[in-house]
């Protein structure tokens, strides 16, 4: 019995390889065009908000609504990412951006945001969105 199985092992291994080679292996989610469009829009929106905040100023109460809307949009994108198979990394990234919106709200609530502080925050949000976009675009597998 053992000898029979042993004798068949190379053929079974070859069969497994043939089966595996019939379709491409996917270890990470498929590319999502909607996610790229939405991430690009949100990147631009935050960049504009922080650029204006740095150059024109603006007390927190007058700008508070921005944070609620923006946080909701990021959360919606995260939930979409979570719903897609093998997409945990992107979902985790969007969770960190969502948390950062809360941190930025705290920066603003704690006092006036100087031009320098707005610039640093803008750079940080741009780095986060670029990270999301870089990974999503790599999922095109070109």
């Amino acid at each position: 019995m053992r000898a029979t199985i042993k004798g068949r092992a190379p053929r079974l291994a070859l069969l497994a390889l043939l089966c595996a080679s019939a379709c491409a292996v996917r270890l990470i989610a498929e590319y999502d065009e909607h996610a790229v469009q939405e991430a690009s829009r949100l990147q631009k929106e935050m960049d504009l908000f922080l650029t204006r905040l740095g150059s024109q100023g603006g007390a927190f109460p007058a700008r508070a609504a921005f944070y609620d809307t923006y946080e909701t949009d990021v959360r919606a994108l995260r939930l979409r990412a979570e719903a897609r198979p093998k997409n945990q990394i992107t979902a985790e990234q969007l969770g960190k951006i969502e948390k950062s919106v809360g941190d930025l709200r705290e920066v603003h609530r704690a006092g006036p945001v100087s031009d320098g502080a707005a610039r640093v925050n803008r750079d940080l949000f741009n780095a986060m969105w670029k990270a999301v976009l870089t990974l999503e675009l790599a999922k095109k597998r070109e």
Binding site: P10, L17, L18, A20, S21, A22, A24, V25, R26, L27, I28, I89, T90, E92, Q93, K96, I97, K99, S100, D103, L104, E106, V107, A110, G111, V113, S114, G116, A117, R119, V120, N121, D123, L124, F125, A127, M128, K130, A131, V132, T134, L135, A138, K139, R141
Partner: protein
């Protein structure tokens, strides 16, 4: 079609694919992490100059930490994609060898 040849085909294809894809991750990560290091220095300087208060500096450090983690998650994702490409390249090499051995497009 022998095991040694197939193994060499698999290994060669996987190595070539992984090296090419890892370079992509490295090319992305290095400038991003350099920029994030500069941002950390900027936060310190803003705090020293009194242009952000303590509460603001602490919240900005949390955003900075999230940014670093987000960049590293992309590096992790690009690494997984590199492994995926290497596996598919290796399987592609086997497909080529099998088709050649049987004399027609079996796979």
């Amino acid at each position: 079609m022998d095991v040694a040849t197939l193994f060499q085909d698999l290994l060669g294809a996987a190595k070539a694919s992984f090296a090419k894809d890892w370079k992509k991750a490295k090319d992305y990560a290095e400038p991003e992490l350099r920029r994030l290091a500069a941002s950390l220095v900027d936060i310190g300087e803003l705090a020293l100059a009194g242009k952000v208060n303590e509460q603001q500096a602490k919240a900005m450090l949390r955003i900075h930490r999230s940014a670093v983690e987000t960049v590293l998650l992309t590096v992790k994702g690009l690494g997984i994609l590199a492994v995926e490409n290497a596996i598919n390249a290796a399987l592609g090499a086997v497909k080529k060898a099998v088709n050649k051995a049987v004399g027609f497009a079996l796979l």
